[in-house]
C-alpha cells in the first residue's frame, strides 16, 4: 500500500493554533493514503521520511503566520504540493483563536473548515479563453552577474514588479524576471480562489522560495477565472519562463483603461527596473 499524501503539521503544541494543526493532521491520518510527518524528527533526521516523501505529495499545515512548518519544508528544499494556514482559515470564519488550547464549537468549526480546504481538489476551472501571443520578444540588460529580461511589447507592469498581458477582456498576470531572480528557486505557488473578485493592487496569491514569500500585487481589477495548474507540479516554470509558461492567474478584466493609468508599458518598466536595480545594489 503506497501512501500518496504526506502531512507536515505545525508543532506548536502549546498553543491553540498548533493544537488545531495537530487535530487536523490526526484527522487526515485516518486515511490509509496519508502519512504523518513529525516536524521535529524530520528536522533531526530527514532520512527517516525519505521514502514517504518520495512516494507522496507534501501537504503542509501551518498554525500561524510564523509558518514554521512551511519554513522547515523550504529549508529542506521539499516541494510543497498543498498548504493551509489554520489562523488564516479561522480569520475567514471570523473566529478568534486565542493562545489557550480549547475544545469547543469554534475550534471544531475551524478544524472542519481546514479539513474541507485540504480535501477540496483544485476547483474546476473553465477552459482557458486566453489567446496566447505567438512569440514574445525581449529586451535585456545586465547588472553584475545578473541579466534581466523585459518583453518588448504587449505587457504592462505595476511598480510592484507584477505584469499583465491582455487579450480582449481576458488577461494573464505574473511576476517579472526581477522577482523570479530575487527569490531564486520557487518552491510553492499559492493561487487565489477561482471566482474571487479583486481590485487593482489587491493580493492575488503569493509565491514562495526558501528565501522569502512574495505577494502578487495585482496590476488590474477583475475576477479570477483560472490559475496556472501546471505550476502545482512545476513551480520552477516561474523561474524558467516568468513571462510565458510561468504565468500565475488568468482574469476577466473589469476596466483595463482605468487600471492602465497606474501601469508602465514595456519600455517604461525597462527603465524603471534599470533604475531600481542600480539603486539597490550600490
Amino acid at each position: 500500500m503506497s501512501e500518496s499524501i504526506c502531512v507536515l503539521p505545525c508543532n506548536g503544541l502549546d498553543k491553540c493554533a498548533g493544537d488545531l494543526s495537530r487535530r487536523v493532521a490526526l484527522e487526515l491520518a485516518q486515511s490509509a493514503e496519508v502519512a504523518l510527518i513529525c516536524p521535529v524528527l524530520l528536522n533531526q533526521n530527514r532520512s527517516r521520511y525519505e521514502k514517504a516523501l518520495a512516494a507522496g505529495d507534501l501537504t503542509v499545515i501551518d498554525g500561524c503566520n510564523t509558518r514554521c512548518a512551511s519554513k522547515l519544508a523550504g529549508d529542506l528544499e521539499l516541494a510543497i504540493k498543498d498548504k493551509v494556514n489554520v489562523s488564516e482559515v479561522a480569520k475567514t470564519l471570523d473566529i478568534k483563536l486565542g493562545v489557550d488550547i480549547q475544545e469547543n464549537d469554534d475550534t471544531r468549526a475551524v478544524v472542519q473548515a481546514v479539513l474541507a480546504k485540504v480535501n477540496s481538489s483544485a476547483a474546476d476551472q473553465a477552459e482557458s479563453e486566453f489567446i496566447e501571443p505567438e512569440a514574445v520578444e525581449y529586451n535585456s540588460f545586465s547588472h553584475g552577474k545578473f541579466i534581466f529580461k523585459v518583453p518588448q511589447s504587449n505587457y504592462f507592469f505595476n511598480e510592484n514588479d507584477c505584469w499583465v498581458t491582455v487579450s480582449g477582456n481576458m488577461a494573464r498576470v505574473g511576476v517579472s524576471d526581477y522577482v523570479q531572480q530575487n527569490l531564486s528557486d520557487i518552491l510553492y505557488v499559492d493561487p487565489p480562489e477561482i471566482g474571487d473578485e479583486f481590485e487593482q493592487f489587491d493580493d492575488l496569491g503569493s509565491i514562495e522560495s526558501s528565501k522569502a514569500v512574495f505577494e502578487i500585487i495585482s496590476p488590474v481589477s477583475g475576477t479570477v477565472v483560472a490559475v496556472n495548474s501546471s505550476l502545482n507540479d512545476a513551480p520552477e516554470q516561474v523561474n524558467e519562463s516568468p513571462y510565458e509558461k510561468g504565468w500565475l492567474v488568468e482574469v476577466k478584466l473589469r476596466d483595463f483603461s482605468e487600471d492602465q493609468d497606474l501601469l508602465h508599458d514595456c519600455p517604461a518598466y525597462f527603465e524603471f527596473l534599470q533604475r531600481k536595480v542600480a539603486e539597490i545594489d550600490v
Binding site: 511598480e159 493592487f201 493580493d203 522569502a212 514569500v213
Partner: protein
C-alpha cells in the same frame, strides 16, 4: 532616495507605510527581518523597541510584512483611497503641465 517616486508622484506625497498596534506587538521582530527596505528600526533601549523609522521607504501597496506578523499587529492605510489619491495627484499635475505649456 529623496527623489524617489511612485508612478511619477513624489513618494513623500503618498501616505503608505505599516502601522503598528503596540498592544498586540510582541517584539518578535519578524517584520524587521522580513523587510529589505530599511523601513523599520529597532532600539533595544526604547519601549516599544520597534519603530517605523523610514515610512517612505515602504513600497507603495506592499503589505508583505503584515503577513509575517503572528499577532496581526500591522495594518496599512486604505488601498482604494490611496489609489484614488495618487490618480488625483497625477491628473492635477498633468493639467498643470498643460496649462504651463499653454502659457509659454
Amino acid at each position: 532616495m529623496s527623489e524617489s517616486t511612485f508612478m511619477g508622484v513624489e513618494r513623500d506625497r503618498i501616505d503608505w507605510s505599516p502601522r503598528i498596534d503596540f498592544s498586540k506587538c510582541n517584539d518578535c521582530m519578524d517584520c524587521v527581518k522580513f523587510c529589505p527596505h530599511q523601513v523599520f528600526e529597532v532600539d533595544e533601549n526604547a519601549k516599544p523597541k520597534l519603530k517605523v523609522k523610514n515610512p517612505n521607504n515602504c513600497v507603495v501597496f506592499c503589505r508583505a510584512c503584515a503577513k509575517t506578523c503572528g499577532p496581526d499587529a500591522i495594518t496599512f492605510p486604505d488601498k482604494t483611497e490611496t489609489t484614488k489619491m495618487i490618480k488625483a495627484i497625477r491628473k492635477a499635475e498633468k493639467a498643470a503641465e498643460k496649462e504651463a505649456e499653454a502659457n509659454e
